[in-house]
Point group: C2
Chain length 327, copies 2
């Protein structure tokens, strides 16, 4: 099967950066490159930058589009899988029903796939990372928001239209504030990097003391989740409390997933997950305390292994699996 041996050009389109990679049919990254997304410039500018990033990588590796098995795009947003649309995205504010799949396939005359980035990361970890050999797992990416991907019976579960896995947008605080997605008290409002920074800033504004104030020279708006982590590792009580609270909320949402899915594994990726055990161990504790005993005992809660490569690896695996099942 000569066709299957062609590489995939995989793209991870995030709110901050665009990663492009050439990936062999065995899942090896043969080349990768980064461009800034500059989402604020609007969808047309971002698409132009995406296309030029593809051109650049093809030129760099001297590959003609016809030598690609497929182009596979993992994008941060709500995807209409069937029609190949980015229907909306919190990270790409002016994107509404953008036919990104067809824009790319028309230009390069190559089979093109468009999927959600956290779905791609779930498949990546399942095929090549922390979830290898684990047939029922949930991946969550905790960054500026919370994304999710669901593997059931060894396959990506995308739901009726490609929209499954939006676990960050389950209500866990029914009396909470409105989320940008339109729902109320979403999980990601209490746990994400944004939430951690917001909570630290709010506490300092209320008069609590923290090394963070000094770290940002009094410019509280410069406080990020990473800085809160640094302060916590230095023993700052406020930072420790903020992270402990986020970790508890992380656990609350995990209890929901454990009771609903009775999964073998929950994999935690994304920027905030780099905090590691500081975040994961208190979350595990909440799961042990609150979830159904059988399900709590069955689940392994672990950190993602592929880091930022999960998205492109999963996108490539998805494109390869689609054609494999056709053939």
């Amino acid at each position: 099967m000569q066709a299957r041996r062609k590489p995939v050009l995989a793209i991870d389109l995030g709110g901050t950066k665009i990663m492009t990679a050439i990936i062999s049919h065995q899942g090896q990254i043969m080349a990768k490159d980064f461009s800034p997304t500059l989402a604020g410039e609007g969808s047309e500018a971002v698409i132009a930058r995406l296309l030029s990033a593809i051109d650049h990588l093809l030129n760099l590796k001297n590959i003609a589009p016809s030598k690609l098995h497929a182009i596979s795009i993992a994008a941060a947003g709500a995807i209409d899988l069937e029609r190949g649309l980015v229907t909306s995205s919190p990270h790409l504010p002016d994107w509404h029903d953008v036919p990104l799949r067809d824009i790319v396939s028309t230009r390069y005359k190559v089979n093109t796939v468009l999927m959600n980035d956290a779905n791609a990361a779930a498949l990546g970890e399942h095929k090549f990372g922390a979830g290898k050999g684990v047939d029922n797992l949930i991946l969550i990416t905790v960054g500026t928001g919370i994304g999710g991907g669901i593997i059931i019976n060894g396959r990506l579960y995308s739901g009726a239209g490609g929209g499954a896995g939006e676990v960050g947008h389950m209500t866990i605080d029914v009396n909470g504030p409105r989320c940008s997605c339109g729902n109320i008290g979403c999980w990601e409002m209490l746990v994400s990097g944004t939430a951690i920074a917001r909570e630290a800033i709010a506490r300092i504004r209320r008069g609590e003391r923290s090394i963070l104030t000094e770290m940002v020279g009094g410019k509280l708006e410069d406080i990020t989740a990473e800085k809160v982590e640094t302060a916590a590792r230095g023993g700052d009580p406020l930072a420790l409390e903020v992270i402990s609270q986020a970790a508890t909320y992380l656990g609350v949402g995990m209890v929901n997933l454990v009771n609903i899915f009775n999964p073998e594994m929950i994999i935690v990726g994304g920027g905030v997950a780099k905090m590691g055990e500081l975040l994961l161990e208190p979350a595990r504790q909440v799961v042990r305390e609150r979830a159904f005993r059988l399900a709590a005992g069955a689940v392994h809660i672990v950190q993602a292994q592929l880091g930022d490569d999960g998205g492109v690896l999963g996108a490539a695996a998805f494109a390869l699996s689609l054609t494999a099942s056709k053939g």
Copy 2:
């Protein structure tokens, strides 16, 4: 395959009653019978009553146990599918790791299956009811609590150990009270029949006026969800408000399921669901307002069709599918 033509003896073991039925391999109920559960008498007494209910139905239809394809038990509780245990149950208070499957199979020398009752109902509706031909659906049973069952790619999804589908025990009110399951602010605490009665009683105790007070002759503890429904249909403002609030909370949990699963259908069964559109239409409205657009547009929210027969029909279908896949 003569063996496949044998009927299944299916049992729905609930907190209030035990239903036994003989079901043909085509899903026809050839006989059914009821016994009271009397859960308060303890697990041994309930098991004795269950066994005598089986004996009674076999005698009634003059069927020897060896002429059964299987005995399949749907039980209201957390089930360890592999080991055939009722690990715990809110409706069977003293049941802890009761090896019900083996008790039955040893006595009758017949293949026996033990599963969760809402999982069974999901499979029943998928095979014979509202979900026929729908490959990705969630069933919820709203009664004294909320149970759930998940059909993915046309098959029951039971998770790593048979515990999947406990959607009634997802936290939707992170600051809410503790649920009997050990978790906090569970969905079922805000929506179930118990919750509806509790809310009506609390409002009347706080001094609000309602026809319900007269209906129960001042004995507020006699208020049930059914009575609240009757009062609401009679135009009682308090009853209408209580049901509208429960319907909103029903919708909040559905939004979570819609965002997580992007299902084709949510089927609502159980005693409280008999309220029908009084409960479902406001819940649908919440889904339309709060869930992701693509997923909200894809989901049909409908009432269960099989009523109380869903559990035994699904339990029979499950037993038949297990052997079919072996053969």
